[in-house]
């Protein structure tokens, strides 16, 4: 089953990368309020169904894919 994990810097967490991108976009003439830079991880997981896939992805996020101190995440399952 195909899944996508969207990882974002948590609200209130300083994101220097996002700030740098924001500054560069302004230099290009864009009017931007804020930019935050996160990460997208595509995972193809062997699972018996949607619930199983989601459970496995939650564990992946907890054990490796994200750091809960600074990141939030969203799991999207294909077809779910």
């Amino acid at each position: 089953m195909k899944a996508t994990v969207l990882v974002r810097p948590k609200d209130g967490i300083l994101d220097p990368q996002g700030e740098a991108v924001e500054g560069s976009l302004r230099k290009l003439g864009f009017t931007v309020e804020q930019v935050r830079v996160g990460r997208l991880i595509d995972v193809e997981v062997a699972a018996s169904g949607t619930d199983d896939a989601r459970r496995q992805l939650e564990r992946m996020c907890a054990e490796l894919l994200t750091n809960p101190l600074i990141e939030s995440y969203e799991i999207r399952l294909e077809g779910a």
Binding site: L14, P16, E63, L64, N67, L69
Partner: protein, 232 residues
């Protein structure tokens, strides 16, 4: 008393690049360094202390230290730490300890988004630890830093608790990277695991600009020696 030098295991991950400097520096202060490859599941039996060296383990993929935190050798380091064994993480080693949850908080990109590479003054905030007992309280050590992701961060409540318990062992005397409270080095609650961003292994000879790092490494060797004697 054993005449043999105590063994300090230096874990080598793909992308570690201070492992050999660390081994050299540890030997210079009286240890027998043992390089341990990341996919080893056991540390050498006679290990008295562990050093996690600097570098860019696994290319800093995902988050600095995150991939290394799940390496087989880190399971062995976790067991060693759980038994009270002294563990010191330097730079990437500090990042690995945080990602392994052996130390609180996390290392984030420097606030100036620039790699910093210079000698910095670092103040000893707690000299009553296994790692800083050769220093005196308030002593200013000159140690080199070289990192892009060295801004230590934790939530305010965690930070206040750590400071109150004396776990913030080293602070930069100036703002180096945006680290919360200028934290440069951190101890776990039990007092046997420490991480720091500056590099003691690059400062063990006055020829290199400072020998202050030798104070920290020699203390690690002391701890390794005591552990070996206790076990014997």
């Amino acid at each position: 008393m054993s005449s043999r030098a105590p063994v300090v295991a230096v874990v080598v991950f793909p992308g570690s690049n201070d492992d050999r400097d660390a081994a050299w520096a540890l030997a210079a202060v009286g240890a027998e360094p043992a390089l341990v490859w990341h996919d080893e599941s056991e540390l050498p039996e006679e290990t008295g202390a562990v050093l996690l060296p600097g570098g860019f383990s696994y290319g800093d993929y995902l988050r600095c230290g995150s991939m290394a935190s799940v390496a087989p050798a880190m399971d062995a380091v976790r067991r060693f730490a759980a038994q009270g064994g002294p563990v010191l993480g330097v730079c990437n080693g500090f990042q690995i300890l945080c990602e392994s949850r052996l130390l609180p908080g996390v290392l984030r990109p420097n606030h100036q988004l620039e790699f910093v590479c210079k000698d910095v003054p670092v103040r000893v905030e707690n000299a009553d630890t296994v790692f800083t007992r050769r220093c005196v309280l308030g002593q200013e050590l000159i140690l080199p830093v070289k990192h892009g992701e060295g801004a230590w961060f934790a939530d305010e409540g965690t930070f206040v608790g750590l400071a109150a318990r004396g776990q913030i062992v080293l602070r930069y005397s100036e703002d180096v990277n945006g680290s919360l409270g200028n934290v440069a080095g951190m101890l776990n609650e039990r007092g046997n695991v420490m991480g720091l961003m500056p590099h003691p292994e690059h400062a063990v000879d006055p020829l290199l600009g400072s020998a202050d790092g030798g104070l920290l490494l020699a203390a690690l060797v002391d701890a390794a020696s005591e552990r070996v004697l206790t076990a014997a």
